[in-house]
């Protein structure tokens, strides 16, 4: 029987995704070294074409597109990761408590989850950011608030299926506390669907952040890919690279995350094992 890593890393789609994600991560981590200047700095004439003096050209104010791309990678990834972690943490807590205690608590928590699920998520995010005024924090909060309900439902389902198993019963008899049982016995068993959903959530978060920035609701003091697409949008017919470069970066990153997420699912899902 192949191990998880063997199944995961021999999947060519996963390898493609990981290579791109690795590249973007390197860009994000070493952004200040790769592009030492402020990405908002006006360094040259506006609308310089790519592969001239500046490798990706300059934008409508004469800002270096390369600097924007690497610093934008940082913002986009960071916002997406923090938002995802927050959504996963909150969703897990709600779903775990609801599934473990059941009954009245379950009813209340699940109706609340459904309430959030019925609101069109992107419009909800727009409203939240508009009310809180656009900033990195408000964008993270908005993405997390619209993303946690599916996590809660998945975790609840897993907890319900695990709860009746012998090892949990044994822990109860052994006198472990509720929180101990939930954290040590139940939640570890929900990990694999959580990892898969969480990884796909990162992709969604990047898209939401980009879409918000595109609509002018991005963090105005942070360079992000969505910001670059949004500020270049009106020049599409004259300067295609303003939109194309960050647009392709968003496309490839989201695609890569999805490939890796699917790969994780294939490798972790017991029903697909050894098929």
């Amino acid at each position: 029987m192949k191990t998880f890593w063997q199944r995961f890393l021999t999947n060519p789609r996963v390898v493609c995704g990981l290579i791109w994600l690795g590249l973007v991560t390197i860009l994000a981590i070493f952004a200040p070294l790769l592009a030492p200047s402020d990405p908002f700095a006006i360094v040259a004439e506006p609308f310089k074409t790519p592969f001239s003096e500046y490798v990706f050209g300059t934008d409508s104010l004469g800002r270096d597109m390369w600097a924007g791309l690497v610093h934008g990678a940082r913002t986009s990834l960071l916002i997406a990761l923090i938002a995802t972690v927050s959504a996963v943490a909150f969703g897990t807590m709600v779903g775990g408590i609801a599934g473990y205690y059941g009954g009245f608590i379950d009813d209340i928590l699940m109706r609340m989850t459904e309430f959030f699920q019925t609101i069109p998520s992107f419009i909800f995010a727009i409203v939240l950011v508009a009310i809180l005024t656009p900033s990195a924090t408000s964008i993270i909060i908005a993405i997390a608030i619209v993303s946690w309900p599916p996590i809660a439902r998945i975790v609840r389902g897993e907890v319900l299926s695990v709860k009746g198993r012998e090892f949990v019963q044994a822990a109860i008899i052994a006198g472990q506390s509720d929180s101990g049982i939930l954290l040590k016995q139940v939640l570890p068993n929900t990990l694999s669907p959580l990892i898969v959903t969480g990884s796909l959530l990162v992709a969604t978060a990047i898209l939401v952040e980009s879409a918000l920035s595109f609509l002018g609701l991005g963090a105005p003091n942070l360079m992000s890919w969505g910001f670059m697409v949004g500020s270049g949008r009106s020049f599409l017919r004259d300067a295609w690279w303003l939109v194309a470069i960050p647009g392709v970066a968003i496309l490839l990153t989201v695609l890569s995350i999805n490939l890796v997420g699917e790969g994780l699912n294939d490798a972790l899902n017991p029903r697909l094992r050894d098929l």
Binding site: F40, I42, L61, T133, N221, S231, S234, R237, D238
Partner: protein, 533 residues
């Protein structure tokens, strides 16, 4: 010899007939056609007597006539008034109305309508009217075609406010009935103008049809004007390029597309037709707050901004560096001066750094002296990019600028009601006269919480207010010019607002249409002379 004269007369007659035959079709050719104009955004109402919001006037000015029109030299021309006379003391203004003018509903226009439109409408419900007509105490109507305005003090600036855009003449028999602020005819206007209101399909278009009974015989030439609403800038450009739309003005043409449009075979671009509008862009500094209450800091900021960069790269060349709150469009009348402190200098950054060092704002370890928050004007991407530029420009002199982006309602409240900002941007129209458009930027009277587009910086100066008061009542242009020269100098020395540039809006006109911009009010004029080839 007699025969020669007979021949000559025959030749002359023949010549005249031929000439007439040649000219007739030329004149006839002018008639007909539909003009599709892009109005952006869709107007909230057509009550130009209640709101001065741009799109309203662009449509309503075709339906409502004014007492006067203005030519490109800013000279008043007859319209509903055939002639007028201002008494020597400036306190009695008499209009002789044209006879035989009828409203679109067939009722005649008389002096009673004018009296109603000034005393009950302009002086009461119009946003700028109460200020413009504040000296008018009574309007007398000795006969149906004579209107006499009685003033308690001279108001020379008033002569420029009688256009159909600024002071529309409304039919009293319709608008005197019921509440003027919620009148059923607000959105079904009835005027005496060259075009009649026909239909408003919300979200799509407003249709105006030719007024067959217009008092200018043979005019208007067009059969129809359709005002279309297209919210996406690129779609507007495409519609103009393809000839689906024939006219767009006042921000309906995206600045960055103006060059592309001017190269198109269908379209010409002009910047004329804003001479009575004259918007001046400003970086508003909140002088109520430290460190912006320090004049050295304000001067440093003024030196740090490259107006040429702003005009060339944010407004794509549409603009001209400003020297103060007054537009150079007032240069011909002698009210404008550029003999004030100039901040657009080659060594601006060095001067700014020196000023800030001397004022005690030394650079700290992180390279910055202090931080400011800039609230971007939420009126489109040019202003967002302007904010981003300001942050970069001030960064160069050690001022860290963070940007905040809020919606229009919150921005208005923050700027003009709560005064809770450091810097923001805006542009104020100079309009027909400095009394209407310039005083409000810096006079003490215009510091009023909740009054939008007024003195947002909170700065005022006793001497400036005195000079403004004198200029308001002074009929002699040369003397007014002297008062303004001193006031503008004081304003530039104190620089409470950084006037970056006089804005120029590109107006796109389809080449088939002629005589479109024939007034300093441009898109806000009545289009009765527009014809197609």
């Amino acid at each position: 010899m007699l025969k020669f004269y007979q021949n000559l007369s025959v030749i002359t007659a023949t010549f005249l007939v031929v000439m007439a035959a040649l000219l007739m079709p030329a004149a006839a050719q002018k008639k007909g056609g539909t003009m599709v104009m892009i109005v952006q955004p869709e107007p909230p109402t057509l009550a130009s007597y209640l709101s001065t919001s741009g799109p309203i006037g662009q449509v309503a000015a075709k339906v409502y006539d004014g007492l006067l029109e203005y030519d490109m030299d800013m000279q008043p021309q007859p319209s509903l008034a055939e002639s007028w006379n201002l008494a020597a003391d400036g306190k009695t203004l008499t209009f002789k109305l044209r006879k035989g003018v009828i409203f679109h509903d067939g009722k005649p226009l008389t002096s009673a309508d004018v009296q109603f439109s000034i005393m009950k409408v302009a002086k009461v419900t119009h946003p700028r009217g109460p200020n413009t007509f504040r000296s008018v105490t009574a309007v007398e109507t000795p006969d149906p075609y004579t209107v006499i305005l009685k003033l308690d003090q001279a108001a020379p600036y008033m002569m420029m406010a009688f256009s159909g855009y600024e002071t529309p003449i409304l039919p009293k028999h319709i608008f005197a009935n019921g509440d003027l602020r919620a009148h059923p005819n607000a959105n079904k206007p009835i005027g005496s103008g060259p075009f009649k209101f026909t239909e408003w399909k919300k979200g799509a278009y407003i249709r105006l049809d030719k007024n067959e009974n217009y008092w200018k015989k043979g005019q208007p030439y067009l059969d129809r004007i359709v005002a279309r609403f297209i919210s996406d800038p690129s779609t507007r450009t495409a519609a103009l390029e393809k000839g689906e739309a024939h006219f767009a003005a006042m921000g309906a043409v995206p600045f960055n597309d103006a060059k592309r449009l001017s190269a198109s075979k269908n379209v010409t671009i002009t910047t004329r037709g804003h001479e009575l509008i004259s918007p001046v862009a400003e970086l508003l500094l909140n002088t109520r707050r430290a460190p912006l209450n320090n004049v050295s800091v304000r001067k440093a900021i003024a030196y740090a901004i490259d107006r040429k960069f702003v005009i060339d790269n944010i407004w794509f060349g549409y603009g001209k560096p400003a020297t103060g709150p007054m537009s150079s469009n007032f240069a011909p009348s002698g009210l404008y001066t550029d003999k004030v402190t100039q901040y657009q200098v080659s060594d601006g950054i060095a001067r700014a750094n020196k000023l800030l060092d001397e004022a005690g704002f030394k650079k700290k370890a992180d390279g910055f002296r202090f931080e400011l928050m800039h609230d971007s004007l939420p009126y489109g991407q040019e202003w967002t990019r302007f904010g981003e530029y300001i942050a970069q420009a001030l960064g160069k002199i050690g001022i860290k600028v963070n940007i905040r982006q809020e919606d229009v309602a919150r921005w208005l409240k923050r700027t003009y009601t709560d005064n809770d900002f450091d810097t923001t941007a805006n542009y104020l129209y100079n309009l027909s006269d400095p009394v209407v458009g310039v005083h409000r930027a810096i006079s003490a009277k215009a510091i009023k919480k909740g009054r939008v587009f007024s003195n947002g910086s909170g700065w005022s100066n006793k001497r400036v207010d005195e000079l403004f008061d004198k200029a308001t009542v002074e009929p002699d242009l040369a003397k007014r010019g002297e008062y303004y020269a001193e006031a503008l100098k004081i304003a530039a020395d104190n620089i409470p607002i950084i006037w970056t540039h006089e804005m120029n809006f590109p107006t796109a006109i389809n080449k088939k249409f002629k005589d479109v911009i024939v007034s300093p009010l441009g898109v806000y004029s009545n289009f009765d002379r527009v014809y197609t080839e």
